[in-house]
């Protein structure tokens, strides 16, 4: 499903001594099936922006279109929009509340008014998508699960709504490296197996590089950069200056150059860095 945001403005605490502008004329379009990485430091407006995409927040001015429907319009049917847009907040474990994992995942489908059988299908399907074994976990209390498993259960709950757009706010934050890798593999799996538009908010540039086709950088409530990863991460100085990092490999190659190693730029992943280093070493051997 396509998304279009036009001149979006949002202000927190309007007309109080604590008034803060959050979004300032944000515009972009996302095509159906695109995989977007949305980055920006804490407070740059990312969370505020995505909450506009399913009508949890209302803009001060500007428009938001999901498909053909303008959800920023007065009286827009938000319940219809929300079932098409799966939104996963930061540290989502807190939203678990049911006695069993099964019931918790079924919460969304039940709100859609699905029959028992349909709900059951969806719970099974989404548990398998996130890699939680049905027989092992369905009847367990969600509070007994490990951090990584809890998060998978929450994502299953969102996927069970069969959203056409999936928005994930920091899905790997606070997990250990192994669970982070699992989570990313799962996202790649979703990307390949379903036709769904994904917006991934992340502080981890390596995650973003690994799975996003396009990156949007927010800074002080504005779109600062928008383009494919290679293009966006070419702005090394700018990204560092606004408190964002580079992918580890890019940062490493940058540090090498700063310290006087005459090596080519542009590597974003370990594989690419390996190639660059290999070319560098080969060239050096040839000179000798």
């Amino acid at each position: 499903m396509s998304i279009k945001v036009k001149d979006l403005v949002h202000v927190y605490g309007e007309k109080s001594p604590y008034e803060t502008p959050a979004l300032d004329k944000v515009s972009f379009e996302i095509a159906d099936g695109e995989f977007i990485g949305l980055i920006g430091h804490t407070g740059s407006g990312k969370s505020t922006l995505v909450q506009h995409l399913n009508g949890l927040l209302k803009p001060k001015s500007g428009q938001v279109f999901i498909g053909d429907a303008e959800i920023s319009a007065k009286g827009a049917k938000l319940t219809d929009i929300r079932r098409k847009i799966g939104l996963l907040f930061q540290y989502p474990e807190y939203q678990l509340f049911e006695e069993t994992v099964y019931k918790d995942i079924a919460f969304g489908p039940a709100n859609l008014g699905l029959s028992k059988d349909d709900t059951d299908d969806r719970v099974r399907e989404s548990m398998s998508t996130v890699g939680l074994d049905f027989d092992t976990f369905a009847q367990r209390s969600p509070f007994e699960l490990s951090g990584g498993q809890k998060r998978k259960a929450v994502i299953a709950g969102v996927i069970a709504m069969r959203p056409e757009v999936l928005i994930l706010d920091e899905p790997t934050a606070g997990l250990d490296p192994k669970s982070q890798r699992d989570m990313l593999d799962m996202l790649l799996n979703i990307k390949e197996s379903r036709r769904v538009t994904v917006i991934l908010i992340s502080h981890n540039m390596d995650d973003v590089v690994r799975i996003a086709d396009r990156i949007i950088v927010l800074e002080k409530g504005r779109v600062a950069l928008d383009g494919p990863p290679a293009e966006v991460f070419a702005h090394e100085e700018f990204l560092t200056s606004i408190g964002l990092g580079l992918p580890l490999a890019a940062e490493f190659m940058r540090e090498l150059r700063i310290r006087g190693v005459d090596i080519e730029g542009g590597a974003l992943t370990a594989d690419e860095a390996e190639e660059s280093l290999s070319r560098y070493l080969k060239a050096k051997e040839n000179v000798r």
Binding site: G174, P177, K178, M205, L244, F252, A270, E274, L277, L281
Partner: protein
């Protein structure tokens, strides 16, 4: 001189009264030198956080003993001596700030140990300056970024003038900018002579330490300098941990047939190798 001495430490807990005890730490021996910087890594549930909480007597050993600057943590009379010497910074920046005003929060520790109010004022000022948060001293914590909140938490610990600080995954919930801020301050404290113990998931943070201790299933499985630890990347990966990028790249280059010398764990060694 040894400042923290962990001797045959065993820690067990029960989920509830009926269930059998679970061993979180099963016989750990670590001596930490005064002024050193030790990183403790390990996957979730490896016991590293439990270990940290045993150092400043938030948890008490089921077996063995922990000494801080000569005081035994399980010795009831020494409790406050232990805690004022070994400060602790936790993971969640929100849940460790007590007061709604920053300078009041930094004063909390010194107030608890009965420091005179003029001296508290001096310590609060010094501590806030040393984490570059003096300008923000009158603000409320919920107006700060995660990195700033962690710096306030660090200031709150510094104001107690501890000999060592245990950081329990201080950057896990921060953005890249916040992580850098916190690591810069941590390194500065280390240079000033404070003993640092850093529990972390991030290998690029761990390689900055003098010594790395890897825990798995409640035991110390590897213990040595970063160069020693990462000389066998396969072993680290088998423990479900990442290796630092420099180590990974050298490993890849070796497999391609380049003769890369051992001991490269960070950027400086890499530069030396490439420019030789």
């Amino acid at each position: 001189m040894t400042i923290i001495k962990i001797e045959d430490l065993v820690f067990e807990y029960r989920r509830d009264d009926e269930s059998p005890p679970v061993k979180a730490i099963g016989g750990v021996n670590i001596d930490i030198e005064e002024g050193s910087f030790t990183a403790v890594i390990g996957r979730n549930g490896s016991g590293k956080s439990t270990l940290a909480k045993n150092i400043n007597a938030l948890l008490l050993p089921s077996g063995g003993a922990v000494y801080v600057d000569g005081f035994r943590t399980s010795d009831e009379g020494a409790l406050w001596e232990v805690r004022r010497r070994a400060g602790m910074v936790f993971q969640n920046p929100d849940n460790q700030i007590v007061s709604a005003i920053i300078e009041d929060d930094v004063a909390f520790g010194p107030e608890n140990i009965g420091v005179e109010s003029d001296e508290i004022r001096r310590r609060v000022t010094d501590a806030l300056r040393s984490v570059d948060m003096y300008e923000e001293r009158k603000k409320s914590p919920h107006m700060l970024s995660g990195g700033q909140k962690q710096r306030v938490a660090i200031a709150g610990v510094i104001a107690m003038r501890p000999k060592c600080i245990i950081f329990d995954e201080p950057t896990a919930m921060l953005d890249p900018g916040g992580r850098r801020e916190v690591m810069d301050i941590l390194l500065r404290l280390h240079r000033d002579g404070i003993t640092i113990v850093l529990i972390t998931h991030f290998m690029d943070e761990a390689v900055k330490a003098d010594r790395i201790v890897i825990m798995d299933e409640g035991e110390v499985v590897l213990d040595g300098s970063p160069a020693e630890i990462f000389s066998r990347p396969d072993r680290i990966r088998a423990l479900h941990l990442d290796v630092p990028l420099a180590v990974d790249l050298c490993d890849r280059l070796r497999r391609r047939g380049y003769d890369v010398p051992p001991g490269i764990v960070g950027i400086e060694e890499m530069v030396a190798y490439l420019c030789r």
